[in-house]
């Protein structure tokens, strides 16, 4: 016997009571001396209004491109477990902020290396299914050859790029536009 996937339903307006216990905005545990990077941004709806009730879930590899998961080849798994999971709620003003490290390159669908990226789920009231997107790093040379980015219309790729804010290079900005001219690229999976 086989079945079909259970339908998704919205997290609704009160999900924070269920999600708060696992809030995790510092992903650097087990990251050793790798350089820290802060990624901040806003979530905006179709009227350009801040969304005060969204949560992002982040999943990423360590700085060598290894995932803390058995699907990644055992000999490659980080000895000092870098976990790579974040759960980041927005503030009442629709702003979020988390601290992590830049992941290394992970193999892509064709065996070629992917550009460094974080995968992101977005949940909120009004979304009957999660949104799936990615955060890439602006100016990264490997972006030119990344297979996933190659599938994104060129004029929209910039919506996936975290950009330096100021001179220090340690704070990056990446906003989520649910709709509008700057609508973020969301993926179908």
């Amino acid at each position: 016997m086989s079945g079909r996937t259970t339908p998704s339903q919205t997290v609704g307006p009160f999900f924070s009571i269920g999600f708060a216990w696992l809030e995790r905005t510092d992903l650097t545990e087990g990251a050793g001396a790798d350089k820290r990077v802060t990624i901040r941004g806003r979530v905006l709806d179709g009227d350009g209004q801040s969304v005060p009730d969204a949560v992002l879930e982040i999943w990423q590899a360590d700085s060598d491109g290894r995932y803390g998961h058995p699907e990644d080849a055992a000999e490659r798994m980080a000895a000092d477990k870098f976990f790579g999971f974040g759960r980041v709620s927005v503030s009442d003003k629709g702003e979020f902020c988390f601290t992590t490290i830049k992941p290394g390159s992970v193999d892509g669908p064709d065996g070629a290396p992917q550009a460094p990226h974080l995968v992101v789920s977005v949940f909120m009231r009004g979304l009957l299914r999660r949104l799936i997107t990615r955060i890439y790093f602006s100016g990264e040379p490997a972006n030119q050859t990344d297979a996933v980015l190659a599938g994104v219309p060129a004029q929209r790729r910039h919506t996936l790029m975290a950009r330096p804010n100021g001179a220090d290079g340690e704070t990056l900005v990446w906003d989520v536009h649910l709709q509008g001219d700057e609508e973020t690229v969301f993926f179908e999976y």
Partner: protein
């Protein structure tokens, strides 16, 4: 090197569209541009595997979080988490949250004029066992009004959040109750196009898990996406 296998995409009709106009909040939040197909990569077929210690031993029992017993009808909610090939999803984190028996959430923006229960938080977690089974003890949640349309009421429901083995298998859903007269009017429940898929969100009364003298049992099985048959190129 072992071949990597990706996950299947949902069967058409089993998942809601992002834009479902009767659900008013979807109108300004659903994407308007076409979604971009995402190939399987290691990034999607891996995902967080949580240590069991992060969940307190009594977190499955929502009736034991206060100094006394919460008000309302005590129920046991249990089921099995499987993939599309009926393989158990083992050792996987399950989170739930819900309103109390009066239909009120312990949340600062819930303004429904119904009482809070000092003995009910409405939040639980557990892990599935070696057969993919989970079990919660809780209180049957009340229905409550919302502002989607005139005289709108949400049917009784419990929110479920599941991770499964990978980023690809993440699922957040809601469990409903058999015979709830509000279901046919609820735009969230009715956002699922396929009737059988929609009805799979309705838990079933279950003698086998009904605890004598203690609580009625309700069964809610959950199916996460399964693996592709063909290994992907590595």
């Amino acid at each position: 090197m072992k071949p990597l296998r990706g996950f299947r995409r949902p069967t058409p009709g089993t998942q809601p569209e992002y834009l479902h106009p009767p659900y008013v909040s979807s109108r300004k939040r659903a994407p308007t541009q076409p979604l971009v197909p995402l190939p399987d990569t290691l990034s999607e077929i891996t995902g967080p595997i949580f240590r069991k210690e992060i969940v307190a031993g009594n977190a499955f029992d929502l009736t034991r979080q206060g100094n006394g017993e919460p008000l309302g009808e005590r129920i046991v909610v249990s089921g099995q988490v499987l993939d599309e090939d009926s393989r158990p999803v083992r050792g996987s984190l399950v989170e739930i949250w819900q309103a109390n028996s009066a239909g009120r959430y312990l949340h600062k923006i819930d303004q429904h004029d119904a009482p809070l229960d000092p003995n009910f938080v409405g939040v639980g977690q557990t892990f599935t066992d070696g057969e993919g089974r989970y079990r919660f003890v809780t209180i049957r949640p009340g229905a409550y009004p919302w502002r989607n349309h005139p005289n709108a009421w949400r049917p009784q429901h419990i929110h479920f959040s599941l991770f499964g083995p990978a980023f690809a298998t993440r699922l957040v859903t809601q469990m409903y109750f058999e015979g709830d007269p509000l279901l046919e009017f609820d735009p969230i429940f009715n956002s699922v196009p396929d009737t059988a898929a929609r009805n799979s969100l309705i838990s079933k009364f279950d003698w086998a898990t009904t605890a004598p003298d203690i609580a009625l049992g309700f069964r809610f099985d959950i199916i996460l996406c399964g693996r592709n048959a063909t290994p992907m190129e590595k």
